[in-house]
Amino acid sequence: MTPSILALIVLALMVVGYILGRQRALSLAKRDGVRLHSLPGYYGQSVALFTAVPAFVLLGVWLFLQPVLIENQISATIPDSAIPEGGARSLVMADVRRIADGLDLVVEQGNISEDDLAVMRADISNVRSRLAEVGVALGSNVQPAVFEAAKSYRSIGKTASFWRNIAVLAAALGSGFLAWSRVRPAMRARNVSETFIRALLMASSFIAILTTFGIVASLLFETIHFFRIYPAKDFFFSTIWNPQFRGGSDLGILPLLWGTFYVSLVALLLAVPVGLMIAIYLAEYAGKSLRSFAKPAIEILAGIPTIVYGLFALITVGPFLRDWIAQPLGLGDSSSSVMTAGLVMGIMLIPFVSSLSDDIINAVPQSMRDGSYGLGATQSETIKKVIMPAALPGIVGAILLAASRAIGETMIVVMGAGAAARLDVNPFEAMTTVTVKIVSQLTGDTEFASPETLVAFALGLTLFVFTLGLNVLALYIVRKYREQYE
């Protein structure tokens, strides 16, 4: 019985539990002539939950632990002599799994019976060709020890799966029955369902939090690995970025951070003023019909994939800036430049700034506007002196969120600003950012355990710390702002 069939059986039991629980509640209430505490469905629900939840939790834990435990056990039985020179135990274990899976197929197709298999020996019969017949290809001939390990892997796995099925079904039936027998008209079934919903919601938010921790942990682990083989001082303070295939690379983050900062700055210099003015216009001046058309239209900008912006930068903005500005002014002849990427990224960020700021400006109470108009202020005086100061913290929050978007952007930079790490103030030169280098270092051909590859994690972590800092700052400011006119 595979886990999915088992799960289906548990689901079926759950439905049965629902029906039985509901019936019992109704019949007990009728017999004793009392009112049910909750609607009948809630009793069914509580039995159903007690049937399914413990069973599924047990199944999940079992599925997670079983392979780990069995592998440890089998791995201990393989003698060192069975491990080829220069190979690893984990590779041999992979073979064991493959052979075990292959044997399953062989038996399934009726080529050999279970009993024959039990006495089959790797050194006499040709296991490799037998497995090849069912489509399992092995790199070398099977060693007796490995073959025996595969056989015991299979048998232990079978036994474990058998007990798993028993345990899960027992859990479902047992706790389902217990819940069923607890059904009384006075039982607070609504509250059971309420508790379950709360637990479910809590578990969902936990997944998000745990994922964040997981990401940080994996980054941190590889970063520590990197700093063991590359000095942290050189990484943080060197101004040269020059990775080499054969080692001896200079991996200074400064040129990349500068590029990131510079491109983001150009982007924000475009996006913040334009976005804010759009927001003010939409929130304060635009009529209802214009607003209902313009706001979604601007938000479409946010829905364009960044790779499309990248194409726009590459084939339109870049050559335009080069031919009309950079070359006439003698500032360089590269079509990839900080300006290209920054401007295009700025366009991408406009809806972030305008949409969030628009919401924030709208959240300023109408009574503030009335107060100001009532004193004889004009609309723009009201906006400048009352609305903007009141909305400013929220707008700062919106800008910081846009900034962390800019810092993390990759595609537009690759296609707009190029891939040359450089510390330069000329915005018409090609430069590159942290994110671009993370991609190029990880997708290169260098060995994974080399500093040239691992540096990607250190870069990623640095970037993460930066954007996290910005986000925390933004959240702090936004929260403070919320208390403003209360």
């Binding site: 009335d370 108009y373 009532g374 004193l375 004889g376 202020a377 403003q484």
Partner: protein
Amino acid sequence: MDMYANNTVAGKIGERAMAEKSNAVKMRGENVNVFYGEKQALFDVNLDILENQVTAMIGPSGCGKSTFLRCLNRMNDTIDVCRVTGKITLDDENIYDPGVDVVELRARVGMVFQKPNPFPKSIRENIAYGPRIHGLTRSKTDLEEIVVTSLQKAGLFEEVKDRLDAPGTGLSGGQQQRLCIARAIAVQPSVILMDEPCSALDPIATAKVEELIDELRENYTIAIVTHSMQQAARVSQRTAMFHLGNLVEIDQTDKIFTNPEDKRTQDYITGRYG
């Protein structure tokens, strides 16, 4: 009032107003109709607001009294679907005339709202806001003087004189409302409109604001919308009764509350509906 008051323009206007104290018509509504989209909210209202008096407007909810009040300084202009016909004059000048500068009108006809709405700025900045945008002062000392005078006139100065830089939103509800009155006074209006100024206040704060309204009458013309019959009786000289968008009657407050002409007024003030 005190040594500060006489030095300011507001103070001088006050003196003049007191000197020619009469019951001249300050504002007059003639055949005022107001529409919100398709729906008509006011029907042919004819109403005089007399100088240096408090005119109260009473009536059940939705009767149009606040709508009429908001016509007096054209606050209804901020509502897109609102349309006003008829004529409203301030000192015999039609405020709905196309040539009228709405912004200047609102400086002459100040407004205090139902819910205290101080700006999220300091107490000083709340008061200084109006004078600053209208360029009423030349120097910092002038401005400071207006701040102090306005707060004194609103009876708030003693309570806040040590914390003029504290946020206006940190005051209690009653203090906030008096701050809003001070803010309105600071632009030296001749008329002050009050839209249920005490409905969000406790009885003690209400008493203080009512006392203040009575004092302000000497220098300003006041129109107040209220749900409280007692308040209308306490603070006003004339009372207008509205019902379903119509002006039922307007007369001396004493007369309205003792011997109303219209049965609807009678029913309303005796609490039969509303």
